[in-house]
Amino acid sequence: MDFDRADEIALLPDPFAGWFASRGWAPRAHQLDLIAKARLGRSTLLIAPTGAGKTLAGFLPSLIELAARAQRRSNSPRPPGLHTLYISPLKALAVDVARNLERPAAEMGLPIRIETRTGDTPASRRQRQRRDPPDILLTTPEQIALLIASGDAAHLFGDLKRIVLDELHALAGSKRGDLLALGLARLRRLAPGVQTVGLSATVADPQTLRRWLVPQRRAEGAGAQEMGAREMGDLVIAEAGAAPELSMLESVAHVPWAGHTARHSLKEIYALIVANTTTLVFVNTRMQAELLFQELWRINDANLPIALHHGSLDVSQRRRVEAAMGEGKLKAVVCTSSLDLGIDWGAVDLVVNVGAPKGSSRLMQRIGRANHRLDEPSRAVLVPANRFEVLECRAALEAVRAGAQDGAVERRGALDVLAQHVLGMACAEPFAVDELYAEVTSAEPYAGLARADFDDVVDFVATGGYALRAYERFARIRPRKDGRWRVANPGVAQQYRLNVGTIVESSMLKVRLTSAKSRFGGRVLGEVEEYFVEMLSPGDTFVFAGEVLQYLAIVEDEVRVARTSATDPKVPSYAGGKFPLSTFLASGVRALLADPARWSSLPAQVHEWLDLQKLRSRLPGRDDLLIETFPRGGRHYLVAYPFEGRLAHQTLGMLLTRRLDRLRLNPLGFMANDYALAIYGVSDLSLAIAQGRLDLDALFDADMLGDDLEEWLDESALMKRTFRQCAVIAGLIERRFPGKEKNARQVTMSTDLVYDVLRRHEPGHVLLRAARADAATGLLDIRRLSDMLVRISGRIDHIALPRVSPLAVPVMLEIGRERVAGDASEALLAEAEEELIREATRDVDDGSCRAL
């Protein structure tokens, strides 16, 4: 829309026009657009870069309406209820936005009450908010789930006029997003005229987000293609800011073949920090953040204030870093995706991204964190940590310059989240199944939900949904005489409230600093996953919260540690933040490799590496799958280059080794990275291929995704972990399952036992279906693997080599090797037993071996 001055005055009543003028601002076109859309009663998606006044644009229509309502208020006997609901993925963002909103409201003298509601809000205020709601409430998806599950939801939301969904791109496509979408469907029922505004960064597929904003018509069983004609909100795209200034750090040092530390570029990164006012240094994992932070301080001769920020650190410590950042006290922050979203800091003038960006959308988001003034370009430097990452960074640079985004992954709403929601709706008021089904399928992620799946979920919520109808008398929800379902007793509603949310942390332990002498501790540094601590023995050292720590003991749910001056700490391999390479960037890397004419843009070392590969072996084709076989160190290797990301490669490795094992080709194990997969074993694979005993086309046939996958999946630890998450979200298992507070006599029961029993006796159960769907899109990346197998069918390019190829070196250097074993833990136990026997009998002359 184009606006002239007259339109502007018409759209911006007093005191708004005056307020803009008094600050010397002119309202931006997209801000006026959103006011116009609101007048027309249209729900709208706003796509805008950071610094474009996106949040104010989202709230202006609310503020204008509320100003007008305040003028009318004197005539109305009844106090009007909640007008606008703002939902953000981050608690801190909700609090920050509330503060930013207070200011214009106060400066214009608007009598508007703005409040936040998060997990930190005191119970007394929460109760008061229900009785006497503010005009604008800022909150999170979990709080919405709680509010709509209460009996007074209709009272609270009956007057709701507008919903503002911030950072919608970060919520859609996740289980948290599913929960929010279901909540929106309910809010629309409680307040039928409500308008929604979605605020989003640039995304490849705005259509999905636009559909989020309006009720969907049911499209049972339809795929994405057939649903093209679905209802959508309007779209406003803000004018783009200045194009970012992007470069790749060309290190003078040797570029490593493998690894992710970027230690070779350390001095150059430090020089960048010195030369700029405030730098955000993004890395991909918490481990990298810890290591880089350590290394930077080692060479920080100028004692520059450099801080650390990642998701495992204690909240108060993270807040301190954020506050210091806001006050401009920091020179640099080393951070993970924990700062991808969040509060705006005007002072950041450089973003350094260490390691490969993995996806162009994430990179753009991170770049946007530098410089929030639209008219000036954001500046970012990419620092590849190894040779493949040089290729990936180059592909990412080209993608960002072209404004190309990663494609969205099609995703269906999760059934475990739906189960949680269904129970919540029974807690709010008795529901009729047909009505609830219609409501649920009006939410974007559930528009294609089959009635049978919905009925299974309701059945699960009621009695567990087992074919053996054993639990009718223990039902959690029951139909009344009129057919509406209600909760069986108040305890069920209480249980529901404790279980709300989709974030299932793996078991975490607090890390408390204490001196080696005293047992009692000082401050809490943060949390680590329990399984990481399981790997430590007292006395071991590790890096955490920017310090080298010594592990002393575990006391209840705390890890007691002391500072140490040890110089060679163990690497904490705790999980978190490992993103696989996006399909879009992967094809960029493949295209770059296949086109030597473009290599001139690469650093000389990398260029030479690829030349050598061309000489010694072949280059992976754009659409082919290159497979090399060669002997090395008494073993035989098969290296494939699918470029489909580590997760898909790991799954592929599991399946291929199973097949090779069946062919009696004796695989021993495999290594995978984002680009390649290497399988090793004792049989000569080059010979087996030459003699026709091994047919690569058959080996890579997509039918491996059938029985082989099912069989392996059922036994895999990944599947058990996934099942646990689904079981917690769906409410089969309470978050605080008995066994949390362990004492001497208490025995603990694990979800693995439940999983084993269920898959043997009812493999089609709805929760197992939910877990398998998660595995397919999540940790196993089966969908991507399946697309790849189809793509390369009949296009395998095999070469037998006398020795390892240059391109194969990085994957051969990967540390995380996976062993082959029908039942991995059996093999491990046997190995450990033998090792101990060897150790115990080492000095015995007669060689007799009596175990223990």
């Binding site: 209840e556 029908g822 223990l852």
Partner: protein
């Protein structure tokens, strides 16, 4: 079980059967499914079946899959089929609660009757099931002594030579190549023995817990069960929980 697993179980059992595990003069074979076979007496011993634990938890709101009893009984049937014993002793906590036997489904009831056909069944009292359970058949005892071996639910404090007990559900935790493994196990020092729980939903207590360590005067071994064979580890090779 796949045929490879069956072969491995046979091999392990044969290997053991040559000598058997000595306990107070008796020779016992440890079955990797979590049972003991005492060949001299043609006796199978199992512990802590916790039948109907699923339905007991369901009554408290956790609607876990109601298949735990049949899963447990299927394992017991395999064990019985392997040894074809004269008698089966269940060392207490056979049911998760006093009303458990009443809730046992008809199919499970049939499975139990089938596997006990032609043999003696001895239910030892446990703290979860102290009284005889109607309609199950077999005999109910508080404890039982056969030759040098005493069979009871809860291990006695102090020395208790020749005792085989349950109650504690021992599990061993090992760190192997950076992976933490947790398995049910037998705990024994050659004078007394604590059996692993057999119940599908029975949890576990680490052998390094004082409740288990305190039963043994000195060193003892954990014999890890489950899967194809038994793996032996000295108690101090096993890791404590936190």
């Amino acid at each position: 079980m796949t045929s490879t697993t069956v072969r491995a179980v046979r091999y392990d059992i044969e290997r053991q059967a040559e000598g058997g595990l000595p306990l107070a003069g008796a020779r016992l074979v440890l079955d990797p499914a979590g049972a003991i076979y005492w060949a001299a007496e043609r006796l199978v011993i199992v512990a802590d079946l916790h039948l109907e634990k699923g339905s007991a938890l369901a009554a408290r709101g956790a609607l876990l899959p109601p298949y735990d009893s049949r899963a447990t009984l299927a394992v017991l049937a395999q064990i019985v089929d392997r040894w074809r014993p004269r008698a089966v002793v269940s060392l207490g906590d056979s049911f998760h609660d006093r009303r458990g036997a009443e809730r046992l489904g008809s199919e499970e009831r049939g499975a139990l009757a089938r596997l006990l056909r032609g043999r003696e069944m001895i239910w030892v009292a446990g703290n979860h099931d102290p009284d005889p359970m109607p309609g199950l058949g077999g005999s109910h005892v508080n404890e039982l002594t056969i030759g040098p071996i005493s069979l009871r639910h809860e291990p006695r404090a102090g020395d208790s030579e020749g005792e085989i007990a349950g109650h504690l559900h021992p599990v061993a935790r090992l760190l192997v190549r950076g992976q933490s493994l947790r398995r049910r196990c037998f705990a024994t020092d050659g004078t007394r023995l604590v059996m692993p729980a057999l119940g599908a939903y029975a949890g576990g207590l680490n052998v390094r817990d004082p409740a288990i360590e305190g039963l043994f005067a000195g060193a003892f071994a954990a014999h890890l069960a489950g899967g194809a064979r038994i793996y032996r580890f000295a108690h101090d090779a096993c890791l404590p929980d936190h």
